[in-house]
Amino acid sequence: MAHPILEFDRGREVEFNFEGRRIRAFESESIAAALVAEGILTLGWSPKRRRPRGFFCGIGKCSSCLMTVDGVPNVRTCITPVRDGVEVRRQRPLGELPKAPPPEAKAGELDVDLLVIGGGPAGLSAAIEASRLGARVAIADENVRPGGQLIKQTHKFFGSRENYAGVRGIEIARILLRELDGLSATWLTRATVIADYAGRSHDVVVSTPEGPWRIRADAVVVSTGATENMIPFPNNDLPGVMGAGGLQTLMHVFGVVPGESALIVGAGNVGLILAYQLLQAGVDVKAIVEIMPKIGGYAVHAAKVRRMGVPILLRHTLRRAVGRERVEGAEIVRVDESFRPIEGTEERFDVDMIVLAVGLTPSTEVPRQAGAAWDYVPELGGPVPIHDPYLRTSVEGMYVAGDSSGIEEATTAMLEGRVAGAHAAAELGLRPDRAEGVIKEALRQLESFRSGPFSAKVVRGKQRVWERAREVIG
């Protein structure tokens, strides 16, 4: 079936080995996506109780797809591209020490003005602004393809014209990447930042498929995005229970639809948008359940989903996932005023996918490891590094931008990235007058974007963080 919006350039066909079985795939796919496309949903087993584990986040954050690849254990197969002839095995439950030593690593070194960690909307924008101002920039990104979550967002953005209103996320990613192509930033793809030994400058160790890189940078922008939240319910680890973003990655990046029918948990914008994305991919969406008494997302999305016949069940929650080796059904239940299940109101849906759209938590490992002050701010999705309006953290020369500074939207992530990138360049003494203009304009747009009622909560959270910043940032 053709997708109504996306065209997939799957590239060359390749063949690899999975536990003695030959699997055909496309070179553009990740190993995990190729296995799921073949109907192999169990990618491993949990260490203690040996329960089957499957695809969940799709962006290298949840570790439920760790497999042994060419003898190397614990490879995150969701962010590892397939290659011809590669050997893939599941771990039962732990991987084994490689039989033969893998090739010796090649260490690299790099000296830059600014290192951007994470190549999503915030990181790309920071890299573009800093490069334009003349900074030597490197970007490290873990994924097979750059662009962060933009490359799976098929919906058109809201907001103002200057911030790509009416343009689909996938198109915005292309625009940003094209823009960066014209500048001279250094890309490190499939690169994971291990640590930032921040002292007078930043001494960052990055792991790449070839070996470790050591990058010295005057400034660092951390734009590492977020992880999807999991909620507790029996069988929540069954293959077929997926994060909304994980499923979007499968569908929109790799063109893989891992089931026929779905139940969505959470009626925020992500859950609502996902419902019609699933319909576009030919999936039967049985319902969206939402524990709160009202829909969290925009009314326009909700109306669209309802028009297409998907019920949105408020004051309902998931009681359990049903199935042994994979999801075979979902049992939901109504809840009372204090969110307690009302006995006797259980209802079962026969679905093979349960998709969780229950929020995100900022990915803040790098700033916290580097010693940045942080606080738990529920309005921003949990633990966030303390930062000022210029996105500076308490660690000299370290900035945060996008979801890793607090869960918001791609539009604000891009604006925050621009502020951070321009500010970092200005601090290095690069065209401070021009930088000031960029910062002012981006801050104005941020304020205007955040002026609506939907942003009230975020603004409350940001104000708390900015206030703390006055105490912890010199």
């Binding site: 732990l94 490689p98 010796e104 030994y197």
Partner: protein
């Protein structure tokens, strides 16, 4: 918040392995005990150590004490009612120079005379025990092998002691700093804590790398110095490595944890004394290279965490245990120089015997605080320093 009582028989400073085990052995003798720690249980060196339990030492008192600890560790699960993860996986101490071969021979003779089943392994025999070890690549001439050495989980052991002590009536006050030791007429009378003054007949200084500062508040001078030691752990792989592997020559040790990660440390010979807890890229890179050299397939295994802790180092790398001259009732149990977890149970037991006025299982004199003034001490050389 819970407040300490006005007085106890014993006030213990520090809730690491030493403080918690001492509290347990004191409480089981019917003494009333309060333990104070300015942070949480295991927050110091205990919670940062690799959990090794070694009996192969160059000095006799150390071997005896370590063997006593092993006797305790063997029955500790039953005694405390916890699973401490204690295993006798053995210690493989590699010799890389002729000098080491000679030293090891002498040490092994002494150790065997005390009943330790230690023996010499030729390179081929090392491979039988750890086939993955690149014996030639690292240039090992042989190894001292003691199968009754081992390891346990420092958290489970220490919390096991703490909870068992509490069941016997001891009280542990975490996040309660000791500001000073109260001394009146040359006698320790208690401690001033962040939750008020507590009177005690005895004060036990088990504050690890901070012991010297604690002692100073009582006018007692200790020669201990804090040294940072860094350590890392890899992601888990299926168990393949049973013993702890050590080289004094390379200043390195590593073992596989029960969960499968390789835990290992390297002592930087250029480390300066100080309260430094920073993790360094120098350690990460050096340790990763060493691991890949010792066990080449580890190249394919990632490091997931690194951290640092403080050794509380004395001039002879041997602990300071016992009463001090000038302040009666002020007992030092510190200066373990990186061996507190191994020596902890036996030492704590001896200290409890001493305070309770019982005959001691082993003499404490060799570890007496005043040995440095007397100039009568023999240095421990079998250390990763």
């Amino acid at each position: 918040m819970r407040r300490p009582r006005e007085s106890y028989d014993v006030a213990v400073i520090g809730a690491g392995i030493i403080g918690c085990a001492t509290a347990y052995y004191l409480a089981s003798r019917g003494l009333s005990v309060a333990v104070f720690d300015r942070s949480y249980i295991t927050s110091g060196a205990t919670g940062r150590c690799p959990g090794g339990i070694r009996q192969q030492w160059s000095t006799e008192d150390h071997v005896r004490l370590a063997m006593k600890s092993v006797e305790i560790y063997k029955n500790l699960d039953q005694e405390l009612g916890v699973e401490t993860g204690y295993r006798q996986g053995g210690y493989l101490i590699l010799a890389k120079t002729e000098r080491e071969v000679k030293d090891f021979e002498r040490n092994m003779r002494m150790q065997r005379s005390l009943g330790l089943p230690v023996r010499w392994l030729e390179p081929g025999e090392i491979r039988e025990i750890v086939p993955e070890l690149d014996v030639e690549g690292i240039g090992a001439l042989g190894a001292a092998w003691n199968p009754t050495d081992g390891y346990a989980d420092p958290f489970k052991v220490t919390f096991g002691y703490a909870r068992a002590a509490e069941r016997l009536g001891a009280e542990i006050f975490t996040f309660t700093g000791v500001e000073r030791v109260i001394v009146e007429d040359g006698q320790a009378r208690g401690v001033k804590t962040s939750r008020g003054v507590v009177r005690a007949e005895w004060v036990v200084n088990a504050a690890g790398a901070w012991s010297r500062l604690v002692a100073e508040t009582a006018g007692v001078s200790l020669p201990n110095k804090p040294y940072r030691h860094e350590i890392l752990v890899t992601e888990p792989v299926k168990p393949f490595l049973r013993p702890m592997v050590i080289s004094f020559h390379d200043n390195v040790y590593f073992r596989q944890s029960s969960r499968g990660g390789i835990i290992g440390g390297w002592g930087d010979p250029n480390e300066k004394p100080g309260y430094n807890f920073e993790s360094s890229p120098r350690f990460l890179i050096t340790m990763a290279r060493l691991l890949a050299k010792y066990i080449p397939p580890l190249r394919g295994v990632r490091v997931v965490r690194q951290w640092a802790g403080l050794y509380d180092v004395t001039p002879d790398a041997r602990q300071i245990t016992g009463p001090v001259r000038g302040v009666e009732g002020f007992i030092q149990v510190n200066g373990f120089s990186g061996h507190g977890f191994m020596m902890g149970p036996a030492t704590a037991h001896l200290v409890a015997q001493f305070i309770a006025g019982e005959p001691l299982d082993l003499p404490l004199e060799p570890f007496s605080p005043d040995r440095f003034e007397r100039g009568a001490f023999e240095g421990e050389t079998a250390v990763v320093g």
